[in-house]
Subunit: 458 residues, 2 copies
């Protein structure tokens, strides 16, 4: 037993520390990026906020870097150690501290699985809006660290929009609490917003107060099969211009559709694989039906076919299918390198075209899908996992795509975060004074640079 | 002409500088608080972001403090100089830089009146959700500086929720741009959120990208007259528990209703003055009508009468009346000292009771109204403006109310900000480590303390 392990065991108990050779490496859901996880000095699993604070205090006093880690479903390496850090796993902090369904609010610990939160809300006629992928594995803390979104974020907002308070441990081990079961508070700077999306580089979120809202009575999915990306992206803009307000406005390009078409639950998508627009209307049963009819009418002008889910089960099946698209695409060639750039929505078709042009230039198939209404697409370059040259070309194509998105007035990451894999990406989209402000915030809060070092670097 | 005036005139032109004895004092909408505006060193009215940057650069180089100032409708003294500062008025920056109605977005400069923004959106079938008071005078920059809300914030969110990008001048004169016409971006720390609500203490917001959304086809106001505060506050919780989602869920207690009853546009509120619950349902014409009917049914269980607006004109008249409540209350006794505390919504009735008990103890009438669904009430102590003793007692009562709200798990300010008048309030609701984090952010961004000094102090 190392001295570090013994020190940490005094804080959290020996059962909850793994150190030395047993401790790693620890990957996440990033793939095909040449990201080799480092070996942590130790993995520690605190069981309470006080234990998290004691761990952070110990590490800060000893000058040890920390990596907060949730369900490890991240797509940017944000929870992956680079080597020598103490990994702080939050999975034991999974209590629902308080749930007031009649008041539309809940306080949960960081390690609660996101799917558990969704189920609890649903069982009480409520909902938590964001629906990022991998909900069974991902944890609330990780969802907040990346300010995650998902398909329903178009209509319902991203994680930040649902957080009214956070508890976090900040260096050198202080517990801070900003907000709470409060829907409005303008007294202090927006520390909630600062922590949400900070990827563990400022502190460790241990719990959060979330707002919920009544679930709609009904939701109806709508699928439009368009002949090409131009038609599909124009259809997305048509929906906005028509003043419709779907909760989901996603697309799948032909490459993504082709990979997933076999499992499509609402009939046959046709041949060749279409460019698909997916939308959802919600409200009372009547509102959802009329909303879906309005979507059908607008989308039909650009589509070769439009299907409206005819039962709630069909709509649920549609979203399960949608959730599996990423896996289906990855299964095609074994490897994929996907970005999550976002652009102003009028640049959507340009983004699809740019992805294809980069794929063609680097000799790689592409698949692009995502949250079209938010201008946020998972633009993906496919490669054989065993083909080192193809993987390298995929890396080059992805890198060029980030530059393209920044030049188009967009962002290098709309929902996954910078993590390790987009190191340097922020400086592509922000000018020097804005990057300097980002750095000043980091330096002020984590002057020793011990919180998740190497992540979210401009 | 002073040397300062000459220096500033070189930046913005002599027509846009007032210095020396001509320059002040400059009040805002705070009243009865013993807040004596200081005399600024100069008032400068830059005409562009570049001129704002040049002014900030000049002031930072000379060690001069600055007070950014919009429409001066603030209720916390946030735009009031304390003495010797350079007041930077944003009113000349009033351009709509870009408006893409079909894409639900607009870029406006900080000095644009809020009412102008609302009108522009409305003319294109869109809306900007927050509706803080004094919209004709207040400016977008001030609305963002305070993260303002208003009645519709219950259903539609506060200012922060509608900002996708900001342009701001930060000390020592750098222009930063975070976000833009983008609906999602998680690359950098949330600098948009940090600037919104910062009350001009970090930098000067010069422009913002705002998201808009399609306006609903219809909105129907509902008014419930309840016998007392207990019934009215219980009715508010009933609406939540019933899973209804009104866009507005306001209350007026008997004191507030009595002051405004004469102008009530939908008939007679009855005698004695009731505790009123105001709500609004929206959607298609049918949805708004059925939503209003559902609100009527839930509210009726606790009310002596419920009135549903029968035409769009009646609903509009209802909100005009609501907008006038603050003035009507103030006119009763000449002076008033109103807070804008917010509490967890289950403490709503306690907040009304606490306000009354404090009024009784200090021998002052009270009136309380506001955004009940958000737990955010304007709890107000009334006094004769010429009665110095009563004004002093009002100050004492208000101060005790802030302490009460903080102890109840609430905030000393739900939408007006700390400004000057709630100096020290943040330390009442946040513990020492959280306040230290607030201070660290300020110090990192404005190390010389030149941005709106004395405001938003913990």
């Amino acid at each position: 037993v190392t001295s570090l392990a013994a020190d940490l065991a005094r804080v959290v108990g020996a059962d909850h520390v793994v150190a030395g050779a047993d401790a790693g490496p620890l990957a996440d859901a990033t793939e095909a990026r040449g990201l080799v996880p480092g070996r942590p000095a130790a993995v520690v699993r605190p069981g309470s906020t006080a234990e998290v604070a004691a761990v952070v205090r110990h590490c800060c006093a000893a000058g040890l870097a920390m990596v907060p880690r949730g369900g490890a479903t991240g797509l940017a390496g944000g929870a992956v150690p680079t080597g020598g850090e103490v990994v702080v796993e939050l999975g034991r902090l999974r209590a629902v501290r308080r749930f007031d369904p009649g008041l539309w609010r809940i306080e949960v610990e960081a390690g609660l699985p996101v799917a558990h939160l969704h189920r609890l809300a649903r069982e009480h006629g409520l909902r938590f809006g964001p629906d990022p992928g991998a909900a069974e594995q991902s944890q609330v803390g990780g969802m907040l660290a990346t300010n995650a979104g998902g398909p329903h974020a178009f209509g319902l907002g991203v994680a930040r929009d649902w957080v009214t308070g956070v508890e976090a441990v900040m260096p050198p081990g202080d517990v801070v609490r900003a907000g709470g079961p409060l829907r409005k508070d303008v007294a202090g700077y927006d520390l909630v917003g600062l922590l949400v999306g900070s990827e563990g580089t400022l502190g460790v979120v241990t719990a959060a107060w979330l707002r919920l809202e009544p679930a709609p009575e009904a939701a109806v999915g709508v699928v439009a099969a368009c002949g090409d990306a131009e038609a599909g992206c124009a259809a997305v803009l048509d929906v906005l211009a028509a003043g419709l307000r779907p909760t989901v406005l996603d697309v799948l390009d032909e490459g993504a559709t082709a990979a997933a078409a076999g499992a499509f639950p609402l009939g046959d998508l046709g041949t060749p694989a279409p460019f698909v627009v997916l939308a959802e209307a919600e409200g009372s049963a009547g509102e959802a039906a009329s909303g879906a009819a309005a979507l059908r009418e607008v989308l039909a002008a650009r589509a070769r076919a439009v299907v409206v889910a005819s039962t709630p089960a069909e709509t649920r099946a549609l979203w399960r299918w949608r959730d599996g698209v990423s896996l289906a695409v990855g299964a095609q060639h074994g490897g994929k390198l996907g970005e999550d750039v976002a652009v102003p929505v009028d640049r959507l078709a340009d983004l699809v075209r740019a992805t294809r042009a980069l794929g063609a230039r680097h000799g790689l198939p592409t698949a692009t899908w995502g949250h079209a209404g938010d201008g946020n697409l998972h633009a993906t370059f496919l490669a054989d996992r065993a083909d080192a040259d193809a993987l390298e070309r995929a890396g080059a194509a992805a890198d060029e795509l980030l530059a393209w998105a920044a030049a188009a007035g967009g962002t290098v990451t709309g929902e996954h975060g910078i993590g390790l894999v987009k190191h340097g990406g922020l400086a592509r989209q922000w000018d020097a004074p804005t990057v300097a402000l980002h750095r000043a915030v980091k330096r002020a809060i984590d002057p020793a640079g011990l919180m998740n070092p190497g992540k979210k670097e401009p």
